[in-house]
């Protein structure tokens, strides 16, 4: 069954009168129920734009996004909940309140908020920090709180915009394997944006590779490795093969985008 379908998506901005910047175009993809899709591409390729459109945060210029058959015209966190790159916790609210903020915004009742927030905070293993402030937690822990906030909506799809982008390598790995467990247990569809090759492969049932701006889909790669996965997966030949393929695709794109080297003897 398909949860999310993107059809012929294009997003263009008018940077100044008469000048149009096409962020992405001809994007068509589907996310099946329970599927984990990663989207990777060079920076500035419009992958976040695609994700924002999928969640109804941004109206497409052309094409449309369907959620279970209905067109997405505005965010609906019960269908698709966001986890943003910079955690975006509210520094003036404690951790428990932060986990409940999605529900608060979406208009849930007090008892429901309290119950679900506590449950999801325990689920991501941070129950003891309920009354701490965000600034007292490490970046990795804050991101788990942001995930708990999204999970509290019990959405059918999680939309994650470079969720580990702001973390150092070490924390990414640790958080990565924690998160793998968390997300596998929730059995939800996930769309995850990343610019890390390892992340793109480690997480994915399917990798969608985008080109440099204007971003289009240039390849889809299935990752067949069994779940649950752990870090040892990174040493498997399949992982290495995909990594080489991705490196090729992304590097190629980067090189195309980068300014041509100056020819000698100018």
């Amino acid at each position: 069954m398909t949860d999310l379908r993107v059809e012929g998506l294009q997003v263009a901005y008018e940077t100044r009168p008469g000048e149009r910047l096409v962020a992405c175009q001809d994007i068509s993809l589907t996310v099946a129920s329970g599927e984990f899709v990663t989207i990777i591409g060079p920076s500035g390729c419009g992958k976040s734009t695609v994700l924002h459109c999928m969640g109804g945060l941004l109206p497409p210029t052309q094409g449309r996004v369907l959620f279970g058959g209905d067109e997405v015209v505005q965010p609906n966190p019960h269908n698709a909940a966001f986890v943003f790159q910079d955690y975006s916790l509210f520094p003036w609210k404690n951790i428990l309140e932060n986990v409940g903020m999605g529900l608060t915004f979406a208009g849930a009742g007090k008892t429901e908020i309290a119950g679900k927030a506590a449950e999801k905070l325990d689920f991501v293993g941070l129950g003891e920090f309920a009354h701490a402030l965000p600034r007292e937690l490490s970046g990795g822990m804050q991101q788990r709180v942001a995930v708990a906030r999204a999970l509290a909506m019990e959405p059918r799809v999680l939309l994650m915009d470079e969720p580990f982008g702001a973390l150092d390598e070490q924390s990414r790995r640790t958080l990565g394997s924690d998160m793998a467990r968390i997300l596998e247990q929730t059995q939800r569809s996930v769309v995850l944006i990343t610019h890390s090759l390892d992340e793109a492969i480690f997480w994915a049932d399917r990798i969608i590779v985008m080109s440099a701006r204007p971003g289009t889909i240039i390849e889809e790669i299935e990752v067949k490795a069994p779940r649950p996965r752990d870090l040892s997966m990174m040493t498997e030949p399949e992982f290495q093969a995909i990594r080489v393929r991705l490196f090729d695709l992304i590097q190629l794109q980067q090189a195309k985008k980068a300014p041509q080297p100056l020819a000698g003897g100018r």
Partner: protein, 274 residues
């Protein structure tokens, strides 16, 4: 996070310790300076280097406190000034908060009207005083109107700057989780802008006070400003200075208290722990 320039004059910002400077040490130097000035003043006045009739001297000022505080005219003036400040503060802050929030949230209105507020901020507003007098007369009304204008301008500017402090990423979360307008305001904009709102209230109070005292100094027939004028004209410099010092003291106390309230209420801010 870019802090708007209006924060430059914020009370307390300069007393926040720089790295490596102990707060206690700074306090000792400050006290030493003040004591030094007082002692020097007293000495110069007693030795006749400066004319006591014009400059008074610290001991006379201290001696002038008890009679002043039991003088019904002074008490009435204090009451009058407090009333005018309270009214200015209420009117100016209410208006400034409303206009500031609206201008802060509506880019079009902001582009259209914020320059007017900024222009008012830059103009020496005392110039309006004679006109205000023409309209509102010599009574307490002129002081209230003038104080309200000053409060309004400063509150508006600081509220707009406060709303600018609201982080787009937090607004994005509100949108992604489909917050209603009210919830967005209540949970994101209000707390996010609170540093600016606190500054706004403080500047509003301080400028309202300034406005009222200036108006009374020039126009009124009652109030602290009026009394300072009368005392100065009658060469009762000690009384005038005592009044000025008392007013300054009250303002410093209120400001310090407000700073503490602010720190308590915004303890989530990373720099609040310092």
């Amino acid at each position: 996070m870019a802090v708007p320039s209006v924060y430059a004059g914020r009370l307390g910002a300069s007393t926040r310790t720089r790295r490596g400077t102990s707060r206690a040490e700074a306090r000792v130097w400050r006290t030493a300076f003040i004591v030094g000035v007082v002692v020097l003043w007293e000495l110069l006045a007693r030795t006749g280097v400066i004319d006591e009739r014009f400059a008074s001297k610290p001991s006379s000022i201290v001696m002038a406190v008890p009679p002043l505080l039991s003088d019904p005219q002074v008490l009435e003036a204090l009451g009058m000034t407090l009333y005018a400040v309270g009214a200015s503060f209420a009117i100016g802050t209410a208006g400034g908060m409303l206009v500031g929030v609206i201008l802060g949230l509506q880019p079009m209105l902001r582009t259209a009207y914020f320059p007017i507020v900024m222009m008012l901020l830059g103009t020496p507003k005392s110039l309006f005083l004679p006109v205000i007098m023409l309209f509102f007369g010599l009574g307490v009304e002129s002081a209230i109107v003038f104080g309200s204008i000053l409060t309004f301008v400063h509150v508006t500017v600081n509220v707009v700057a406060g709303v600018d402090l609201v982080e787009p990423k937090h607004l994005m979360v509100a949108k992604a989780y489909r917050a209603s307008r009210w919830k967005r305001f209540r949970h994101v904009i209000l707390p996010g802008a609170s540093p600016g709102l606190f500054t706004a209230i403080w500047h509003g109070l301080r400028n309202g006070f300034t406005g009222v005292v200036i108006a009374q100094l020039f126009t009124a027939t009652a109030g602290i400003g009026y009394l300072v004028r009368v005392y100065s004209n009658n060469f009762q410099t000690d009384r005038a200075l005592t009044l000025i010092l008392m007013v300054s003291l009250v303002l410093i106390l209120v400001g310090t208290g407000w700073n503490h309230v602010e720190k308590r209420l915004t303890s989530w801010r990373p720099d609040a722990t310092q």
